[in-house]
């Protein structure tokens, strides 16, 4: 599976139908087996890009292709089997069990009443096993920690059996350990289940260490992609994050306050 973005413009339509672009001329690709981290400062349009790929909002121009097929040509249910999402949205799922939550991922595959077949049940168990949350299957979602809840949502996406997974800041509310755990899990899923995984994050440290690819977005900068090392070595990475008084240190691969400001 290959997700291809050609000359894409993202943004909003105003009341009068005028285009209000957030970012234009985006050209990117994502392949099966890859984990890509979408990085950029707040407000550069990361969520807008993810929402556009998920078809939650209309694109302003250009095209998004899945294996060469325009995403607008999929029916909603077909698309539900292509791209699975994990969002930051508040849910109301506290009162159902983890098993039931993961089962919701089967919805695109089930019939009108959502009845789960034996095969569906097996997929649900497999998904929970893959993220390591099988022992919590009968727990209420409200009883889970943030990290476990995120795993459950990832399991939901696995049960959905989509070749592409899109996660909007999946590590935002997690502690340091759970963040790394989540990234390891996503890498494992990409390699073992051949998923194409795209996530947005502000966690530069883990993204640089664990992503196969980075997608960088910035104001007045082209949206670019590359491996972490090539982006850093060619000095492409730094401008997306540096500001007056904040510099990117290539040796430690981290942002820091520049010396002049501290002294």
């Amino acid at each position: 599976m290959e997700l291809t973005i050609n000359n894409l413009s993202i943004g909003y339509f105003t009341r009068g139908g005028k285009r209000k672009p957030v970012r234009e001329n985006i050209n990117l690709t994502l392949k099966s087996g890859e984990v890509a981290c979408l990085l950029g400062l707040n407000g550069v349009g990361k969520s807008t890009l993810l929402r556009t790929i998920c078809r939650f909002q209309k694109k302003l121009g250009g095209e998004i292709l899945l294996d060469g097929k325009n995403i607008d040509d999929f029916t909603q249910n077909e698309y539900a089997m292509m791209i699975g999402v994990v969002l930051t949205d508040r849910t109301n799922a506290g009162g159902i069990s983890v098993y039931e939550l993961v089962s919701l991922g089967r919805q695109p595959h089930t019939g009108f009443f959502g009845h789960l077949s034996k095969n569906d049940h097996e997929k649900v168990v497999e998904a929970m096993e893959a993220v390591g949350i099988l022992d919590k299957a009968s727990r209420y979602v409200s009883e889970l920690s943030d990290g476990e809840r995120q795993k459950a949502m990832i399991a939901k996406t696995l049960a959905q059996e989509c070749p592409v997974m899109i996660l909007d800041e999946p590590t935002a509310f997690l502690d340091a350990t759970s963040r790394i755990e989540a990234m390891i899990l996503l890498r494992k899923l990409a390699k073992e289940q051949n998923k194409a995984i795209l996530l947005s994050t502000h966690d530069l440290d883990n993204a640089l260490k664990m992503a196969d690819k980075l997608w960088l977005m910035g104001d007045n900068l082209d949206t670019v992609a590359g491996t972490p090392s090539e982006l850093i070595e060619n000095n492409i990475f730094a401008p997306y994050f540096e500001k007056r008084g904040i510099v990117f240190d290539k040796t430690t691969k981290s942002l820091k306050a520049s010396n002049e400001r501290i002294n």
């Binding site: 998920c54 078809r55 939650f56 909603q76 249910n77 698309y79 539900a80 089997m81 791209i83 699975g84 999402v85 969002l87 949205d89 508040r90 849910t91 109301n92 799922a93 506290g94 009162g95 159902i96 069990s97 039931e100 939550l101 919701l104 991922g105 919805q107 695109p108 089930t110 009108f112 009443f113 959502g114 209420y140 409200s142 959905q160």
Partner: protein, 338 residues
């Protein structure tokens, strides 16, 4: 389903017992033996008035309570899920206010409802009022993306309807205002035997529709974007939910007046009974519990040992309010909405 078997058995038994209680017990004391005779068709020797009371008053009233309660309860549940709000209920979208306004216009501006024609006019006015508001809400729902904003619009429209009612009340004569206030107290006894089929079939249609919505309702637990990603057509589902609740609320309010609390409280009772917010169980159990609670409230409208009748809306909060308070105080239960 296996796990919840006892809940279903309990509710069905409760439903049968309460239904029987509604027929056996009322303002007029009728011996049980005579009631059985009337019901089995051996009522030739029984007091004609008693026979009339059982067949033309108590049975229609019990059936009305059953369907009315089920309908209000399930519409409350649908609205709570749609708006992700544990305090949503039939009164919140302004739909019942629309019905009130329709009735207020008929009662307060025209001659009132003394005649059969007047009664029919009231029902039609309530239906019209409720559906006008429903259509306004659905039109807004196509424009407004956020459900919270839609909820606020619904509440605002309700306020506007209430204002109109206040103005009508202010300028109406005392006896008309009294008549309107009486209507506003809710009453399961106002569906006559002739109207019963129409009332029941409308309710059953709405209830069936609610059962058909179970799958998308479960997806809605995750929020609209997750639901959309699971293949749910958000716009059409939202309209279906609004139509279903609107139909049920309009029908029940038109015939029985604005009945408070059942729609708000019963979904919480159902969640407490089941310990889940999975709609596969929650929808049927809410329907059953709604019917039970309405029958229970209806029994309590007759003060024991007297032939005094209390208004229905005086009874429903006595049973409903403690439950809502319990839900708010008890943390474990409020987490159904986390």
């Amino acid at each position: 389903m296996k796990k919840h078997g006892t809940t279903y058995v309990f509710l069905i038994i409760a439903l049968l017992v309460l239904f029987a209680a509604n027929i056996a017990y009322g303002a007029v004391r009728i011996p049980l033996k005579d009631i059985l005779d009337i019901l089995t068709g051996n009522g030739a020797n029984v007091n004609k008035a008693w026979s009339f009371i059982v067949l033309n008053t108590r049975i229609p009233q019990a059936v009305t309570a059953l369907f009315g309660g089920a309908s209000l309860a399930v519409s409350g549940l649908l609205l709570q899920t749609l708006f992700k709000n544990p305090l949503a209920g039939p009164s919140i979208l302004g739909i019942s206010d629309g019905a009130n306004l329709g009735v207020a216009i008929i009662m307060l501006l025209t001659g009132g409802i003394g005649s059969i024609a007047g009664y029919l006019a009231t029902v039609m006015a309530a239906l019209a009022g409720a559906f006008v508001i429903l259509i306004i809400i659905i039109l807004f729902s196509r424009r407004v993306k956020s459900n919270v904003m839609l909820l606020i619009i619904g509440i605002m429209i309700g306020y506007i309807a209430s204002s109109a009612i206040s103005i009508l009340n202010y300028h109406a004569s005392v006896d008309k205002v009294h008549q309107y206030v009486m209507w506003g107290m809710g009453d399961f006894s106002s569906v006559s035997l002739e109207k019963l089929p129409f009332f029941s079939i409308s309710c059953i249609a709405g209830l069936i529709l609610s059962v058909l919505l179970i799958k998308p309702l479960n997806a809605f637990l995750l929020g609209e974007q997750y639901a959309e990603n699971l293949g749910v057509n958000i716009k059409s589902t939202r309209i279906m939910i609004l139509f279903c609740t609107g139909l049920l609320i309009a029908i029940v309010t038109a015939f029985c007046g604005p009945i408070s609390f059942i729609g708000l409280a019963v979904p919480h009772i159902a969640r407490l009974l089941l310990g889940t917010s999975n709609h596969n169980q929650l929808v049927p159990v809410t329907i059953l519990s709604g019917a039970c609670i309405a029958l229970l409230c209806n029994v309590f409208t007759v003060v024991p040992g007297t032939n005094t009748i209390l208004p229905l809306n005086a009874i429903t909060p006595i049973i409903g309010a403690p439950i809502v308070i319990y839900v708010i105080v008890n943390k474990k239960n409020i987490q159904y909405f986390n």
